[in-house]
Every structure is written in structure tokens, then in C-alpha cells.
């Protein structure tokens, strides 16, 4: 080690004239590994390449066996796997990729994590500082490209800054509304030597989002709760992200008040699906009772949801008679789509705790007779049984397949992830979650290809759990390369593919809004999924009759390893109920509309 070459030599000479090298002096690459260890990282999802090689060089040397690296087969898969890990554990997911294409391939994952508030720390290699801007081999403006799809990003130009930036990155990714961050480290900065700092050595982070709610606002909300005649809790992913305590407090509050509760697709599990006040998911493919209750309520208490267009439907007709309170940790989510009457910037758990405390200290008052009326009305909506469907004895209905999957796996240590499309909505409708973090899906960005890698990420976090990716065959193909990774990691992820040979949701929209012009939504050639599974080195199952379903599911569950389950379902089933984009909550379709109705759907311009 040539100390003289360093700008800021941290070496000191003791009285005997012996040179003592600061033990914190190390290469940038080693600093990265030390910082990750200090942050408690145990799994990294990554893919090596030229500009990140120094860090890969130090990974086995410095990690002391504390960090397990998962070699994905595509960088998009790395980010989704890290999302799967993060959402199943609540810890940040860590990704390591090279410059240029390594970063550009990661972008979809980062955008997905940004939308769904998933904490991700992505470390990317970059060409050496002296080559930045020269269109060097595998150079891309990683900071520029990733800026709008990260919470923050850093380009490190000095090795001495690495530790500080990595520790800050973990803070930013997790504080407030969680999200992805990117650290771009040029290769020469990885190789040069600098000083490592532990997280404790750092000054207090300036970024400190508000988590404690204003007391007077919570008192106002309690006053509203005491007199509400038709209240509803509208909950979302913010409750899940806040932690198990938030879910526990929500359940306690809901059960004590007797108010009905619904949730977005992101929040499923934050209130138990077996709870008696559960109205099921709301939104475009949510339940009749949840959507009608949202429309007719007089007090809406939004906890950690963001009034997404998939939830609100037509804004001018959204819940017209209600007072709305919105509890969110992200101030920019408040009054963005819907103007609310009470804005409460807070962490969900802290807000729910204070709410429960104030409501209790004021004597746990509520308008019970009005609530009884409200539940009577809700009971009538429940009677509609909006998720019912026509059974078929010869062909498998996708809903039936999921009902059987639910029946045969309920009570197991089970985690579900999905791809994007009809199967995703059916899974949200037919599978039930009594705890948070048991369900995840690409909600905001709607990323086809999320399921396979995220199932891998979940399995890495929970090696002994049952992890099932409920998939459509089209989405599943988008990131199927990660099955190789699953084999390498001996991750027994189950791929439950509802195969209708169509891009099902696209087909459904074409049926409803584009005069049945099925342009490019049919897959004329698909692989033999059983042979494909065998080629990867594990088990494939293919069935097409309802009476084969139970045995096949049990076979899948009993197999010690990954399984591709090719479930051939009816091809033209539509996902209902449905609020067509631009309709109001009380204008749901329970099944395919007749032609007159669908021609009225002039909102085909909406997405």
C-alpha cells in the first residue's frame, strides 16, 4: 500500500517512528461492503459487470459470510426481487448492478418501487470519473435517467464520501414514505482508498419527515367519529409500510368502533380478511359493498392510501356526501387528486395510536343506532355477492382455481405475489390475507413481469415459507429468466399460471371499449410449460379440467422445489365487478354490460 500517493494521508507516526495505518483506511469497494454490513444487509440481488467489478472483488473478501449475493439473470429481476424481499420483511432491498445497461435495465424496477413506496438501495458502477461524459463503453447518465424514479440519488466522486452516502441512502430509503434510492460509484472511486465511517459517526440526518400527528387535528377527527352516521375506514399500503403495530392498532380501532373497513390492493392484510367489519377491497375491481359504502358514507377516514384513479373512479362523483380525513406520511399525497377536509401528516401507527387514545379518553362515543342502520344497508350490498361467477364442470374458471388454491393453502405460512392483469385482480378478490406483508403486487406502476422475481425475493427472505406467484402466462414470460436464479438458489417458488392464452385484461378492455377488436392480444404460440419447467430443472404440471385441480395443487405444494403450474383456464372470462374508468362508485358493472351500456362508455380515452 503506497500511503504517499494519498491526498489525505491518514497514517500517523507514533513515538518510535512506526507508521500506524488507520484501520478505517480501505478501498472504496471495501467501504461499500463494510457500510452494507453495518446497515444489517444480509441479501444482495445483483449482476456483475466491468464498472462494478471492484465491489464484486471485495464481496467475498469483506462480507465475512454475512451477506448472501443472489445472481439474478436480468437487472430488472434484481430490483423486483429486492422489492419482494423488502415488502416481505420491511427491510430495504439491496441491488448491485453495473453501469450503462445495468442501470437502464433496473429503471422499471426503480419506477415500480417509487410508485409502491418500497425501500430499495441500488448501488451501480459507473465509468471512471475521468471518462464521464465521453460516451465511454457502457456509460449512461445513470443519475439523470433514474432521477424521476428514485427518492434521491447520488454520484460519488470521492472515496471518502462513500460511507456517508451509503448510510444516508439507507436513511432516505426508509424515512417518511419509503422509496428507492440509487448510488452511482465510478470505478476509480471504488478502487481508490479512503476512510470508512460507521453510521454512529455521522451527524444527524437533515431529512426528518414528520411522523407525529397534530393533536388538535386528531381531536377534530374524533369529534367527527363520535357523530358519524355512515363512517368508513379506507386503508392502504401506508398501514402495511408503517409496520405490524399499525395493523394491530387499526384492527383494534376498527373492532372497537364497529366502523366498516375497506382497503386498496396495496393494503390487503392490514385488517384481517376474516374480520367481521371487512368490506373487502375497493376500487375498479373491488367489491360492490366497499365501493357503495365509499360512495354513500358521511365520514371517510383514509389511512395511508392516496386516492389513486383506480380507487376514485370519476372524481366529480367521488363520495359526494362525506367529510374526508386523510392520514398520510407524504404531504404531497394529500389534496393531490381529492380535496380533503382534514389533512393529517403522520405515520399510520402514530396516528392510529393517538386516535384510539383520544377516542377512548373521551368515552368511546359513537352513534350506535345510525351505525346499525349503516350496517343494515351494507348488508344489502353484501347480498349482491358481487364476486359470484358461473361455475363450469368441463373447463376451469380462473376464479374457481383461486378458490381451490385458497382452500388448500389457507392457514399455511404463505406469501402471495402476482403478475399484472386479470389474474392479479382475481387473486386480490379470491385470496384472503389476515396479516400484512403476506400479499404483494405491482399496484401503482402495474409492471408485468413483477411476479417471478418478487417471488424469488420473498423466498430468499423466508426460506421455509410457501411462496406462490399467481400469474398470467403473458406476464409470466416477461421475467421468466429468473427461474434459473431460483434453481441456483434452491428457492422452491410456485408459479401458479392462469393460462388463457390472451393478454386477458387487454382483451377485456378491447371487448368493452373497442368494439371487440382484439388487436394483438392473443398469443398464438406459447411454450409447453411442463417441458419448460423440465428444461429449467424442476417440475411442471399442466391441467385443464376442474376435477384435476385439487390433486394438482397438492402435488405442487408437496414438490420440494420450484413448480410451474400451467392451469389452462377458460379463455374469455372477464374480471368483474368493474367500475369502468370514468364511472362513479355506484355505477359498477357486475358482469359484462349489454351493448347499450358499453357504448355509453365514452371514456375509452381514459386508462
Amino acid at each position: 500500500m503506497n500511503i504517499e500517493k494519498l491526498n489525505h494521508s491518514p497514517s500517523v507516526f507514533d513515538e518510535a517512528g512506526q507508521e500506524n495505518v488507520d484501520p478505517n483506511l480501505m478501498s472504496g469497494a471495501q467501504i461499500v461492503i463494510e457500510a452494507l454490513k453495518a446497515q444489517g444487509v444480509d441479501v444482495i440481488f445483483g449482476y456483475p459487470g466491468g464498472a462494478i467489478l471492484p465491489i464484486y472483488d471485495w464481496l467475498p473478501k469483506a462480507a465475512d459470510g454475512k451477506i448472501h449475493h443472489v445472481l439474478v439473470r436480468h437487472e430488472q429481476g434484481a430490483v423486483h426481487a429486492a422489492e419482494g424481499y423488502a415488502r416481505a420483511t420491511g427491510k430495504p432491498g439491496v441491488v448491485l448492478v453495473t453501469s450503462g445497461p445495468g442501470v437502464t435495465n433496473s429503471i422499471t424496477g426503480l419506477a415500480d418501487a417509487r410508485m409502491d413506496s418500497v425501500p430499495i438501495v441500488l448501488i451501480s458502477g459507473q465509468v471512471p470519473t475521468f471518462m464521464i461524459g465521453t460516451d465511454a463503453f457502457q456509460e449512461a447518465d445513470s443519475i439523470g435517467i433514474s432521477r424521476p424514479c428514485t427518492k434521491h440519488n447520488w454520484l460519488i466522486k470521492d472515496t471518502n464520501e462513500i460511507a456517508d452516502v451509503v448510510h444516508s441512502a439507507f436513511h432516505v430509503a426508509q424515512a417518511g414514505r419509503p422509496g428507492p434510492v440509487l448510488i452511482d460509484i465510478p470505478k476509480n472511486v471504488q478502487i481508490a482508498k479512503g476512510l470508512y465511517q460507521s453510521p454512529h459517526a455521522r451527524h444527524r440526518q437533515r431529512y426528518q419527515p414528520k411522523t407525529r400527528p397534530d393533536h388538535w387535528k386528531m381531536e377534530t377527527l374524533v369529534e367527527w367519529m363520535e357523530t358519524a352516521k355512515r363512517p368508513i375506514f379506507y386503508t392502504g399500503g401506508g398501514v402495511v409500510n408503517s409496520g405490524v403495530r399499525a395493523s394491530r392498532l387499526l384492527t383494534e380501532l376498527v373492532d372497537a368502533t364497529g366502523f366498516p373497513v375497506t382497503s386498496t390492493v396495496m393494503g390487503l392484510g392490514c385488517y384481517p380478511a376474516s374480520g367481521k367489519n371487512w368490506l373487502h377491497m375497493l376500487g375498479m375491481h373491488g367489491s360492490f359493498e366497499a365501493n357503495h359504502a365509499m360512495h354513500d358514507c358521511d365520514l371517510m377516514i383514509n389511512v395511508g392510501a392516496r386516492f389513486d384513479d383506480r380507487i376514485t373512479g370519476r372524481i366529480s362523483h367521488f363520495s359526494p356526501h362525506s367529510r374526508k380525513a386523510h392520514i398520510d406520511i407524504d404531504p404531497s399525497s394529500i389534496n393531490k387528486n381529492i380535496q380533503v377536509d382534514l389533512d393529517i401528516i403522520a405515520d399510520a401507527a402514530e396516528a392510529l395510536e393517538m386516535l384510539l387514545e383520544i377516542w377512548t379518553s373521551r368515552g368511546r362515543k359513537k352513534d350506535q343506532s345510525s351505525l346499525n342502520e349503516w350496517w343494515k344497508t351494507i348488508g344489502q350490498w353484501r347480498e349482491v355477492k358481487c364476486f359470484s361467477y358461473d361455475h363450469d364442470t368441463h373447463f376451469i374458471k380462473p376464479q374457481y382455481a383461486l378458490e381451490r388454491l385458497e382452500a388448500l393453502t389457507a392457514g399455511m405460512d404463505r406469501y402471495i405475489t402476482t403478475e399484472v392483469g386479470q389474474h392479479q385482480m382475481w387473486a386480490a378478490q379470491f385470496l384472503r390475507f389476515d396479516e400484512p406483508r403476506r400479499w404483494q403486487t405491482s399496484g401503482g406502476l402495474g409492471t408485468m413481469g413483477y411476479g417471478v422475481p418478487s417471488s424469488l425475493g420473498i423466498q430468499m427472505a423466508h426460506p421455509d415459507a410457501l411462496v406462490i406467484n399467481v400469474a398470467g402466462e403473458a406476464s409470466w414470460l416477461m421475467n421468466m429468466q429468473e427461474m434459473c436464479t431460483a434453481v441456483q438458489e434452491r428457492a422452491p417458488i410456485k408459479q401458479f399460471i392462469l393460462n388463457n392464452e390472451y393478454l386477458g385484461m387487454v382483451r377485456q378492455w378491447q371487448e368493452l371499449l373497442h368494439e371487440e377488436n382484439y388487436s394483438q392480444s392473443y398469443c398464438d404460440s406459447l411454450p409447453d410449460f411442463v417441458k419448460l419447467a423440465e428444461a429449467f430443472g424442476f417440475k411442471g404440471i399442466s391441467i385443464s379440467r376442474p376435477d384435476e385441480l385439487d390433486d394438482a395443487i397438492i402435488e405442487m405444494l408437496e414438490y420440494d422445489g420450484p413448480v410451474i403450474f400451467d392451469c389452462r383456464v377458460v379463455k374469455l372470462e372477464g374480471c368483474y365487478p368493474m367500475i369502468p374508468a370514468g364511472n362513479a362508485h355506484n355505477e359498477m358493472w357486475l358482469g359484462p354490460p349489454n351493448r347499450d351500456q358499453s357504448e355509453k362508455a365514452e371514456e375509452s380515452v381514459l386508462v
Binding site: 443519475i143 434521491h152 432516505v172 384513479d309 370519476r314 404531504p331 389534496n335 393531490k336 370514468g582
Partner: protein
């Protein structure tokens, strides 16, 4: 765009919403944003405005604290109050942002802009230019050449007035800094 004929629908608040009914109460707001002066910070702010379809009418940025490395970005954006509220909330999510103040709404403030006008010396004499400048509270810059350059600082409206006057008096070129402002509310 009116062909879209969107009489109803979602995303009422998108700034890219080109339907007629909105933006009736849009007015210019001067937003003063204090940020860490680090590489790319301007791109973060400008990218946020562009990405979410917020309008930028003028923009100035420079480091105002050389020891603390803080820069002040002043943006004039024309939008309704609820969009401005959303802009403020979004800007506050940007990590290097210390604070954002709406100088138009948050109490008293002063706003100034500086403009340089190059006037054709064949259409107006130096003496005439001098008199004109003085009547607008502006001054001539001594360039040691034949060029006539008028420097004017004041409100944007005052600069617009001088611009209108000079347009018929041989104006060849104009450059404006955009608005800077100070809040008088402590």
C-alpha cells in the same frame, strides 16, 4: 385537443389537463426555493416541474450562501391555488430542498427583475436613449463602443413597459434575468 371531448373523468388536477373548464383562477406565483447547492439540484427541481406538467414562466438560480453552499431558486409559475399547493408539497419531497416559500401568498415580499436592452444606434441617438432611460428609472451602460445598452431593474411590469416603448425605438436584442424576490415576513 378539444377533440378529446372529455366532459367528465379522472385526473382533474393534472396540469396537462387541457380541458377548458379549469385554470380560470390561475395566476402567477413567485416561489422561492432554498436548496443545497449540489450537482444536479436544479435538474431535480426543473425535472419535477416538467414531469408533473407544472408551468415555469421564469427561473433564476444562483448560490446565495458560499459557506453553507445554499442556492436560491426562484420560479414563477402560473397556476390555480390548489395546483400551487401541490407544487409546494412536491418540491418539499426533494431531498436537498430546505424550504419553499410562495412570495405571492405568504405575506409581504418584494420582487425585482433586471433586463438589458440593446438598441439600434441608427434609430435612436445616445442622448435620446439617455433621456428615455432616465424617464424609466433605467441607465445606459458604458460599453466603450458605439452600442447603446440600457440596463433596467424593477418589477416585471416596469420592464414590460420599457420593452413596449423601445420596440418602436430600434430595440435589437433583450435579455432578462427572471424574477428574484425576498420575503419580508420573518
Amino acid at each position: 385537443m378539444s377533440k378529446l371531448n372529455l366532459s367528465k373523468g379522472a385526473s382533474r388536477r393534472s396540469a396537462y389537463d387541457l380541458r377548458k373548464s379549469r385554470s380560470s383562477n390561475a395566476e402567477p406565483h413567485t416561489l422561492s426555493i432554498l436548496v443545497d447547492n449540489e450537482a444536479g439540484v436544479l435538474a431535480r427541481i426543473v425535472g419535477l416541474f416538467a414531469g408533473r406538467g407544472f408551468n415555469i414562466e421564469s427561473l433564476t438560480v444562483t448560490e446565495v450562501d458560499h459557506t453553507g453552499h445554499l442556492s436560491r431558486i426562484t420560479v414563477v409559475s402560473t397556476a390555480s391555488d390548489d395546483v400551487i399547493q401541490q407544487i409546494r408539497a412536491q418540491v418539499e419531497t426533494v431531498i436537498p430542498v430546505h424550504e419553499i416559500v410562495d412570495l405571492t401568498k405568504d405575506g409581504h415580499s418584494i420582487e425585482r427583475e433586471l433586463a438589458l436592452f440593446l438598441v439600434d444606434e441608427e434609430q435612436i441617438s445616445r442622448t435620446q436613449a439617455q433621456e428615455l432611460a432616465e424617464s424609466f428609472g433605467a441607465r445606459l451602460i458604458d460599453t466603450k463602443t458605439n452600442h447603446i445598452i440600457i440596463e433596467k431593474s424593477g418589477t416585471s411590469d416596469e420592464i414590460d413597459e420599457l420593452f413596449d416603448r423601445l420596440r418602436s425605438a430600434g430595440l435589437k436584442e433583450i435579455s432578462r434575468t427572471g424574477v428574484v424576490g425576498l420575503s419580508l415576513t420573518t
